[in-house]
């Protein structure tokens, strides 16, 4: 039982989840204009309204948005939600790479038996990068306000002085240059990791062991300096292009890591329930739960520092971000709900040793964190596009659909792994003997 078999019952369950997602999505689409979403009637320029609404720039609205954006609201909602889901799962896969790299570079012995799960979770990044590319190609004007040429015509009504300063960075050429470099580095890292760690299964050697550490160290540097930094700036922070925060990059990565760990924990319990990973016990679960606990706190730390410093200084250019999100009429519930789910619940539930070692409790927390981080990501990306609210069935439906795809790819890749528990790894015995 050291090779995972992707059986038909699992496939069926994934398909059911996918089907429920489609169903929710369809209900969401058809019910969009009636009932659930009041205040969407005049949403012709909702696409870009936020930056204007919030900053009160002198630009008169509408002139620029009136034409070419006759999109119905549901179109905007679909674009915003799909983009957010792709970005979320891209980041979860990136978080998986980061966790894998950090564990390897720090000589982590405990995680050897479960590292193949993390490894398999990195592969979906390719698919979600491709989906993001589609969004960038097809809908860049819908997602990124700064892509409109008319903003940079001096003297025109739509001229935006602030964006004119930023145009050396916020322009399509820079955007694509960084996006392509990011994509290439992600794919390169995933291939390197996959090759190094799977070769260890058949041909274990000290040399491969050291190269796994080298790959880890290099990928941490590439992720920190390049991928995470520019992906958050260009793909997420620039959706609300006037706003800026230095903490934004680290906050995103912390959220991605804790969500990736939670998904990893769910996979671990799934595999154990199927009878795999015989020597993974509550000690390993305890360690994963500890990291979930710790990174939840770290996420909240970065979140709070960002919020508190902006609130305290009260500079309008900065507070616009939270004014759009904290308002109880649109995103207030999600805004407060997300930090309750991402911090309060994991913090109090996972605090004791016993809780971290109980399957039901950790699974509960993992699901809360995955949903909570989804909410947090939604709040980063969507409010500028849907300023009047818009978290609903479409968001949940898309989360389920692409979550199923993420799960399918991960399990498919896991089935290709020859040695699920990494029994040939030099630290295997440390992981086997783990006792805390």
């Amino acid at each position: 039982m050291n090779t995972y078999i992707f059986d038909s019952s699992t496939k069926k369950n994934i398909l059911i989840a996918f089907g429920i997602g489609v169903l929710l999505l369809l209900i969401g689409i058809f019910s969009y204009n009636s009932g659930a979403s009041t205040g969407h009637g005049d949403d012709k320029h909702a696409v870009h309204a936020s930056a204007k609404d919030a900053t009160h720039t002198t630009v008169t609205e509408g002139a620029e948005h009136g034409h070419g954006h006759e999109a119905p609201t549901v179109r905007t909602a679909l674009i915003a939600n799909s983009y957010n889901v792709f970005y979320y799962f891209f980041y979860i896969a990136l978080g998986a790479i980061f966790i894998l790299a950090a564990a390897n570079v720090a000589w982590g012995g405990w995680q050897i038996q479960v590292q193949k799960i993390t490894l398999a979770m990195t592969v979906p990044i390719v698919v979600f990068l491709a989906l993001l590319f589609v969004m960038f190609f097809a809908f860049n004007h819908d997602i990124f306000h700064w892509t409109h040429e008319s903003l940079y015509v001096k003297g025109s009504d739509t001229f935006d002085e602030v964006l004119n300063i930023k145009k050396d960075f916020l322009n399509m050429k820079t955007f694509w240059a960084f996006t392509i470099v990011i994509a290439i580095s992600c794919v390169w890292i995933v291939i390197k990791f996959w090759n190094t760690l799977t070769k260890m299964d058949t041909n274990p050697s000290r040399k491969l062991f050291s190269s796994s550490r080298v790959v880890s160290a290099v990928s941490i540097v590439v992720i920190s300096f390049l991928i995470n930094t520019f992906a958050t700036w260009l793909w997420s922070m620039s959706i609300q292009p006037h706003w800026y925060s230095t903490m934004f990059t680290w906050n995103t990565m912390a959220g991605a890591c804790v969500a990736a760990l939670s998904i990893m924990l769910l996979f671990m319990h799934y595999l154990k329930a199927k009878g795999y990973l015989p020597n993974v016990n509550e000690n390993h679960e305890h360690d994963v739960a500890k990291l979930m606990f710790a990174i939840s706190i770290f996420w909240c730390y970065t979140w709070f520092a960002q919020y508190m410093l902006i609130w305290y200084a009260n500079i309008p250019e900065e507070t616009e971000y939270f004014r759009l999100r904290r308002n109880l009429d649109n995103y207030g519930i999600l805004f407060h709900g997300s930090w309750v789910m991402n911090f309060i619940i994991p913090f109090f539930v996972l605090m004791t040793r016993n809780a971290k070692r109980k399957k039901a409790i950790t699974i509960f927390c993992a699901i809360v964190i995955i949903l909570g981080q989804f909410g947090a990501f939604f709040l980063m990306n969507c409010p500028p596009l849907l300023p009047k609210g818009g978290f609903g069935l479409i968001s949940i439906g898309l989360l389920l659909i692409f979550g199923s795809i993420f799960t399918y790819i991960t399990l498919m890749m896991l089935a290709k792994v020859k040695d699920l528990s990494s029994t040939t790894h030099p630290y295997y015995k440390e992981s086997y003997n783990l006792h805390i």
Partner: protein, 479 residues
Amino acid sequence: MASHFESPLREPLINGNKTYKDITRDIVAPTTGKIQPKWAFWTAISAAFAGLFVFCIVWEVIFGIGTWGANKTVGWAWDITNFVWWIGIGHAGTLISAILLLFRQKWRTGVNRAAEAMTIFAVVCAGQFPIFHMGRVWDAFFIFPYPNTRGPLWVNFTSPLLWDVFAISTYFTVSLLFWYTGLVPDFATMRDQSKTPGRWKFYNFLSFGWIGTAKHWERWESLSLILAGLSTPLVLSVHTIVSFDFATSVVPGWHTTIMPPYFVAGAVFSGFAMVLTLMIVARHIMNLQDYITLAHIESMNKIMLLTGTIVGIAYLTELFVAWYSGSIYESYAFANRASGPYWWAYWSMMFCNLVSPQVFWFRKLRRNIAVTFFMSILINIGMWFERFVIIVISLHRDYLPSSWLYYSPTWVEIGIFVGTGGLFMTLFLMFCRFFPAIAIAEVKSILKVSGDQYRQKQLDEVSSMEVYKETTVTKGAWD
């Protein structure tokens, strides 16, 4: 601790085929016998500098804050720079004792005691600056909120400066308790080794009459765990709140949201640099090379590489976002750092903190003691410049160009800063002489797992695995 098996690929943390008895003897040895002339010489020099500190402080109290170079534009200068620098240095101790304990890093046992002592002494030094910066230091107790008859004169709970008072006093208290708790069984060991009744009484008193029963150890472990749990948020909170002193303001260059985490990373960075500066010297003088091995030094260098690079990312992020913000004041603050009259401070900071630690990518250099010692000094200089850059450069050119000026310290400020160095070293040297510089009980707890003589046994357990085919554990296998 964790499992009794450790991969033979991991470098031993105790060399020289030590027994429990050897450990006791080796660590207690520097505290017994005649006072070495070398120790007396350096203690005398340090005490002289501590005297300079007292002299300069007295001078400042008598003649007032006007004896400093700080003024209306640069209201915070060397005082707060030095305060933040010292507080930062303390962080390594708490990180080692609390966070590395939670991560079950066995190498912490070799250096935790001295690093924790360093934390206490560094916080003592740090505390001097804000206290004497108050000017009328005899009114210092005004910072504590208690029912009083001063009417509307009351602490401002919305000010991060007040949060600092609470954060640092809590930090100091918990660090002191943690340090002392760790020392109790070791004091008992020293008592049992003592040859004179005076010495016996002294260490018996310090050890609270510890006799090492199972109940003692059980309580000791619970207390250590509770204190570790308290210290972990404290190590984050202290420097976070120190960063809030700046970041909650609307001063361009101070108000950046990334400041809290990178202040913490920077503090750990400078703290490890100071631990290395001291320990490299101490292990030579006190013959502790078998307990503070190259493996320890290498691990600490890795942490410095990590935290230095985190700090570097933060510098670059700040620089970029200052431009990206589109705010001319914000961009100017950063342009002025890089090319204004204090450009040398900015580039020293960049070089020492971001560029120079990159040498630790090379294993050879991580394990080179001379390089490590040099780097540890360089990093402490760099981290001092970081605070100087943030504080003085951001302030010296404010919104009103008529009040722009160039700040330089006076002899009093220099004297106080150098003097705190003397105070710190005096305390540290006293610690080395009278206290066990390495945690005896904790080192013993890892002997059977990480002692070099057990590696062969561990290799035998796994020698059937293909990956261990060509592994050897003879001396030098890990160099």
